[in-house]
């Protein structure tokens, strides 16, 4: 069985937000940005590795679309148990419309060995679009389940049964024919830590790099107007003073609102 896990390198912003002078994206060079593997993709990767550990002859490929620096995310995927890594190079900074990575990955899937199962996180933490997974599935004409909290493979029937998370604690069990694409919700498993020896091994492991033809890159129909820090929307009062004084003020609040 062949599994593909789509991972993304995300940025984590601390409180030093600086907007570029054109107002279209962050001034990344001037900020102390953290780059790491998307939280939800770690659960997708762990799920793939657990499948590999439970069935014979399973290989797990990890794929990402991103600038050269995204290589570290693929190295992490290798250290966590992926067998091969594929890096589709895309020089991009700023907001990327989900259909661009989706089209690049779908092209790869159509050209590579057919995959039985494609997994990815339910969304990325930074762009929060919830689109890339189901778009890949639609482009490849594969059945798709999103927000998966549990999956049970049945290789003999060529199906997978999943539980999808809806809103308000509701869940929907679904059966899909393989090959299928699942977007994985956090909490489905407990992602393992990468051991030092695995991290070292992953450091020198070969990976496949694809530089898509610039003239044939998919284009986005979306244009960014601006990126801003949100305006303060609440009239919320910041309690002032030392810890002790803030505690007194909070206490007074409870008293005033008869919450004793």
């Amino acid at each position: 069985m062949h599994i593909l896990v789509c991972v993304k390198q995300v940025i984590e912003i601390e409180d030093d937000i600086k907007i570029a002078s054109d107002g279209l994206w962050l001034d990344e060079a001037a900020m102390d940005l953290d780059h790491r593997i998307n939280y939800y993709d770690e659960f997708a990767l762990e799920e793939a590795v657990q499948i590999k550990e439970s069935y014979p002859d399973v290989t797990v490929d990890a794929i990402t679309v991103g600038p050269p620096g995204a290589e570290t995310t693929l190295r992490r995927a290798l250290a966590l148990g992926a067998d091969h890594a594929v890096h589709i190079r895309l020089e991009s900074s700023g907001f990327v419309s989900a259909d661009i990575p989706a089209r690049l990955i779908a092209d790869y899937i159509r050209q590579a060995n057919p995959y039985d199962l494609i997994l990815t996180g339910v969304m990325s933490e930074d762009a929060m679009q919830r689109l890339t997974g189901p778009m890949i599935a639609a482009l490849c004409h594969l059945p798709c389940a999103t927000g998966v909290l549990k999956e049970t493979l049945s290789p003999e029937n060529n199906t997978v049964e999943v539980v999808c998370e809806l809103e308000q604690g509701l869940q929907e069990p679904v059966r899909l024919n393989l090959p299928a694409l699942l977007t994985i919700q956090s909490g489905i498993n407990r992602p393992r830590y990468a051991s030092l020896s695995n991290r070292l091994r992953a450091k020198s492991q070969a990976m496949e790099t694809i530089a898509p033809d610039k003239a044939r890159l998919p284009t986005s129909a979306l244009s960014v107007i601006s990126v801003r820090e949100p305006e303060k929307r609440s009239q919320g009062e910041f309690l002032q003073g030392k810890s002790e004084e803030k505690a007194d003020k909070f206490l007074h609040l409870l008293y005033k609102n008869s919450l004793f």
Partner: protein, 329 residues
Amino acid sequence: MSIDVVLVAECLQDGVLSVSRELTGAAARLAPSPADTIYVAAGSDVTAAATELARQTGVAVRTLSHAAFAYPHPELLATAVTELAAAENATHICYPHTACGCQAAAKTAVNLEAACITAVENITAETDTIHFRKALCNGKLHLKITADTAPVVITVLPGAFQPAENAVNRPGQVEPVDFLPPVEEPGYYPLGLASLHDANDADLEKADIIVAAGRGIGEEENLKLIQKVAAALPRAAVAASRPLCDLKWLPYSRQVGATGKTVAPRLYLACGISGAQQHLQGMQGSQMIVAINTDPRAAIFSYADYCIVEDVLTFLPVFLEKYKKFSKS
């Protein structure tokens, strides 16, 4: 008559969920008249719910009644909406930002080769163009974006728009659509519905005070402090944000947010919670929100009535000490 905007109602067991009505608020920014807007509602038999939706909103509803829609079926829904939107040459297709809505939106956009924007929080009409706003990086950034081509598929964040008034003062027309699922095997078979919550953990809904813990508490050990505070305060219960439940520190029945519980206590005390969008959706109706976080820019502070920039682990013991003294006297 041409239809500009297609609103896809969120249906569950032949009922129409209330987020569906909020879509009219988004549509009002997209189409000059409600006459240019239709709803699509899908279920095994949605006639009754569709009639009610048409009465409330004044918007026409096309119903897709078919056994295949007995349970949420985003794949089939997308196929049906694609056909309808293409036939009407619609400029905007709006789904609620839900699990089913997002998945169907992605597929609809691929089918129509349309631009797609999810979790839209605001829509502004500028000259010749429409700007959509969404949050990035957990609400730390606002992105304004526009589509260069039509049609556009969007998902509308629950709670972001008020339902528009029924401007026409009469019910919209309800019209069934003949829908035949494609002969091609979809490979996707919904098997039913289940609820995570049982009747036993209703205490979150009943609590006057909710003390909620987030990733900012650091270690599982520190939950004890949160529990101590909840034990000291009257009619208080402990809740958590999603990452804590993912770590299995607390069961998912204690999770507040879009995918967990929606609560509205008299006091919501957010401890070390950054304020992810999906969490905010579950608690922003609280009467009073007090947030404690070390990061003064945490998104939760934009929703809090009172903001305390402190480390939960050092602040709560100070508070608890004072609280105990005060309640004795």
